[in-house]
Symmetry: C4
Subunit: 385 residues, 4 copies
């Protein structure tokens, strides 16, 4: 019974659901939250939290990568961001905060300029080594276009997880007159686990799984400043995309006799409730960018942007505020694992996830993928006070 609507004569569309369209339904059993495990294991790596911190320069520096590791998550450094373009990116990051308070288009032009500096492989290696030197695990994100250029540098420097990520990618990129990245042969030759994405439907997810990736990113990282839907008409209702990717995983498990590929949900996740719903739809972990940009330790506290902001011809997001002017951000620890006195849901995200699982009677992330859902009209929460 597929949920298909007729747009017009002979033209149909499948109905898609956002996380906001859904809610969890607690069932007959409840649990103590201390008895719930939210650990996540991908390949040989075990994490206290089912978390990847998104490869945004507004969130992950070598320093914050170490903090995220300590708190239990896996931070992803943007391999093509400011830290690999500038010897000392601190003044450049500080400038982001300054210019962003002005006219958005002037800001975008300046950001584009700042990102026009070339990526320097030696800086990439240096950043990875810096994180490793703290004892933390490191992940680095490369774009599909530049993976062949920089991957070896990253691997040689000891990266633990390689993330190949564009807004929307496929396992079959067609480009006349250029040799595209063949993910399948590329990944087969690597020793480090690879996470690829983003994607938004069954078929792409299945093809990406067949590349040998350890994890697939589902969603394109939609946040309060992103305009991809308006600009391109493309959108990924995340609940539907995750459920479809989970179906692909089941089929791939069957086809391979047991190879399990992790799904990392990315976009529209701001609270523990959002994370819980993503898992309910099939995710194994969540990738968080914008929600961490308010942290006191963030490279440019109170501002968030993703790599698309610096596109030379058609940026698909705005650099935007995540704190009020003069508002001090909470420590990353409060955002991720609490405690907090903030009732908005944007802090103690994983404490909230743990409680959601407890109240629904589940004790592990994998089990929680079976929790019951209801689809009801979304009622926005109060804004606070």
């Amino acid at each position: 019974m597929r949920d298909v609507v007729e747009i017009g004569m002979g033209k149909t569309a499948r109905r898609g659901y956002h996380l906001d369209d859904l809610a969890l339904v607690p069932s007959r059993r409840t649990r103590g939250s201390a008895d719930v495990s939210i650990t996540w294991q991908i390949d040989a790596h075990r994490f206290e939290l089912p978390l990847m911190a998104a490869p945004s320069d507004a969130v992950i520096s070598p320093t914050t990568a170490a903090v995220v590791d300590k708190l239990g998550g896996l931070a992803v450094l943007n391999g093509e961001g400011l830290w690999t373009r500038y010897e000392d990116p601190e003044p450049v990051l500080a400038e982001h905060g300054d210019i962003a308070a002005g006219d958005p288009i002037a800001t975008a032009l300046r950001v584009r300029e700042l990102y026009a500096q070339p990526v320097r492989p030696e800086l990439l290696a240096e950043r990875i080594e810096h994180v490793r030197s703290t004892g933390a695990r490191t992940a680095v994100r490369l774009s599909p276009q530049n993976t062949l250029v920089f991957a070896n540098t990253a691997i040689d420097a000891g990266v633990d997880v390689l993330v190949i990520q564009g807004t929307v990618i496929s396992a079959e990129h067609v480009a006349v007159g250029r040799e595209p990245l063949n993910l399948k042969t590329f990944i087969a030759d690597l020793d480090v686990p690879v996470v690829v994405g983003g994607c938004g439907n069954y078929q792409t997810a299945l093809h990406l799984m067949r590349t040998g990736a350890a994890g697939v990113v589902v969603g394109y990282g939609a946040h309060r400043g992103s305009t991809t839907h308006a600009i391109l008409g493309i959108d990924v209702p995340l609940a539907t995309a995750l459920a479809d990717a989970a179906a692909a995983r089941r089929d791939y498990l069957d086809e391979t006799g047991g190879r399990y590929v992790h799904l990392i949900a990315y976009g529209d996740i701001r609270t523990g409730g959002d994370a819980a719903k993503a898992i309910a739809c099939g995710a194994d972990a969540v990738m968080l960018g914008e929600p961490l940009a308010a942290a006191a330790e963030a490279p440019c506290p109170g501002w968030y942007w993703d790599p698309s902001v610096s596109h030379p011809k058609l940026p698909r997001s705005w650099l935007h505020r995540t704190l009020d002017e003069d508002e001090a951000g909470p420590p990353l620890a409060e955002l991720l694992v609490g405690p907090t006195a903030d009732a908005s849901g944007e802090r103690n995200i994983f404490g909230a996830l743990r409680r959601a699982m407890a109240k629904c009677g589940y004790s592990s992330v994998k089990e929680f993928q079976k929790v019951e859902l209801t689809a009801a009209r979304w009622v926005p929460p109060p804004s606070g006070c």
Copy 2:
């Protein structure tokens, strides 16, 4: 014909409805409102109004409990609130009004501190005796965690109805290394009627009925300041939850050969129209908190909060205003039974219920559960003037 949607391949969700999604449909007969009875009888207790006043310190003190009794409802004192933690809670309540006007997070931190005082059994007994001394009936709410600790004190002090209530509870709580409350054996041994909740689905409602409870609370008391959906991803579309619980009641009636368990609707009920729709979905009575916090007699007039606001790690609601600054609240009598000159629906709630039943041609609450409903797009009412 279940109302199920396909979220994605192999993943479904049941559609849920809020009270706001529905409206009553008057049918071929109308009645005079004087001919309508809205009395409510649970166990040996008969009330003029189908009303439980919610166990919020912002609404129920020993004094307001007596007023609610006089007006025809059953007030529930929070057995773990300020009145059982402080010899004299009046200054503490006054401080709530003062601090709440400031920064919401600072407020939450201070409220948490104020609630950190231990509950004193002798104060619990004293409060109950105080209410009884006015000739009023008393109900006390205990959390499932503390029921075994305080229930005997409450019963010995002469409580008429015991309310065991958490946001979301179940008849089967699993907690490693701790002995959970066994509701079934606990209730079987008691002489006073017990009301338990909240719950939000058929199975939990049925299990809670099987504990021997006289009433089950459906819903978690959502109000304008609650953020449970955002924080945990859990929501209870109340119309659906009530209809499901009513189905559980029918099955339980059959299974027991006639034991009728009352359903008390709690959350998103602000007007007589909301109460009428809750009954239409299967409720026997409504629990009101926030709508009574504006009363002139309220302990901290113009402010509302529920017990979750003082959670030490993850509060799930804000302390919020229910009156404009310097606005005087109406007497509780006007809010509950009128008359009023206010057309917002938030006053004369039970006069409105009575008229709704009359215009639809019904003369008792039980009969009114059969009234016809329509599901239409919600159009918000005008804000007044």
Copy 3:
């Protein structure tokens, strides 16, 4: 294929549609608007416009009744309003405008007081005779409760159409110890045509048709200040109510071998587009109140209220503004038949109806009831400039 949703287990609701949920679909033919007739004939009376002006003191005085007649509609005087309670209601009407600008509850209290004066039969007769003396036709509205008291006075004074109207009425009112109005025997004895209402479903509409009424009002006159849905939980999605009443009309036509009862749509109609959609759902005419309150000739220009505002215990609407302060209202002629330079849709309402019919290729109101409809997400129109 009924459009029914499952609210919860064993509980269903029928889906209801507002006019705003629908749009007209022009089909293969278009017409010149000069070739379209929008005349309306009910009983022996023929009108240039399919219009009844609602019995609100904010709209209809003996003077404006004559203006409405001249422009082609039928004005309904409120037989229990200010004009039949006061020898000279002008100062009272002026006071409405003054007090209404203040606190809404104080306003409601004062309005209640002003309406507490008793209705005087001799004034009712005088008002009717005044309107007749201008050569205009007269209609008068009485409440079901007072119809037996005042109807003879109105008929003796020469009323052309009698309107028996309450918010929600039925052909079978049950009131213990009081003799209710028996519409059937009452109407059978009268020589003047009777319009009755409001109603909102098939069964009530059918029963009201069987009383011998010439017309049935569908809807309860919802306007921007009415709060009936919030207060009582009752709502009448007008498109559905009209379609159901039209089905009742077909069945009644069959059962009587040809007696045609007119449907007058009342509520949520502000523009010619709304009127066109009401007709598309089955209406023969529309009753307009609030949209005419902005007229320069209105008794209290820029303010609107309906009779429910003066209820002694539970008013179900607010007295509210329809013009900005110091804004001058357009003549009634511009509102009804244009021309206008206002693009909001709130002026030249019947010129717009005529054009809508022309663009859809229809030439009479009765034919236009067959126009094709589409149900799409409502997009609010721009607010002007």
Copy 4:
């Protein structure tokens, strides 16, 4: 499986979809955007962009027509606009900007007056010749009422494409006592290709195709200032209208053994994403008005209006702002083909279309009509910064 809802007993409506209700779903393949072609060929004319610039005096003057041609689109001059009513319309256009900042009704009255000047055939000829003299192709729009009066003048002056366009037209216009335009015989006699519209359903589209038109406009050009839905109750959910017209095209292809009629989508298209979705529903090209009114070269920069604003009795749109006061508009080139630093989606519209196609794996407009769609709840994009 038609998507039909029951409004009420015996009354149905077909569900209609706006472009905003839909999103594109990228599938298993992606492409480089340089490999995508968005050229458009209608009759003998080939364009770099699938674009007709709408016949609004706020957008197209002889000068901007040439700029649009240079950038790759086809500009349509309003044959009954200011440029054919005034020898020198520049002061009149300037006055539009001045008066529009004032009271909207006074503005509408003045605009009506300015448009009351008669159309002068010699000016029509002159304007066409002016555009041709720049080497650009010319299209002219005439209303159905005046087509017979002015078409020969336009053709003799060398117009390349004739556009016969009213808000809603049909191939069968009925007007008592007047000889209507017979599109079929009229078009058969012409040597220039004709585009006709707007229309909104299968049957009208099919009949318009049978007139011999080269293209059919689908939609009535809804923009932020248009109020047609409110005024007339008529609306054209564009996604549904395009899909239905595409079905008509398939049937007409079959009936003629291969005559392909182009569909031009008009209304609610503001971004490349909107254009992409229109094509996904069946369009071959888009007609843009309001989005181009912000251009620095626009005749009255920052203001938009369509011909309906000057209607003598019932205007159906407002003259409205498209730029903030003192905001400078970007060049037309940035709006159409970029590059841009604006992330709103309103600039580099066709660069965005090209990227949308690339990310979905398609290389031509015709192929792209097959892209997969999802129907999800619309989430409005951020407003910028």
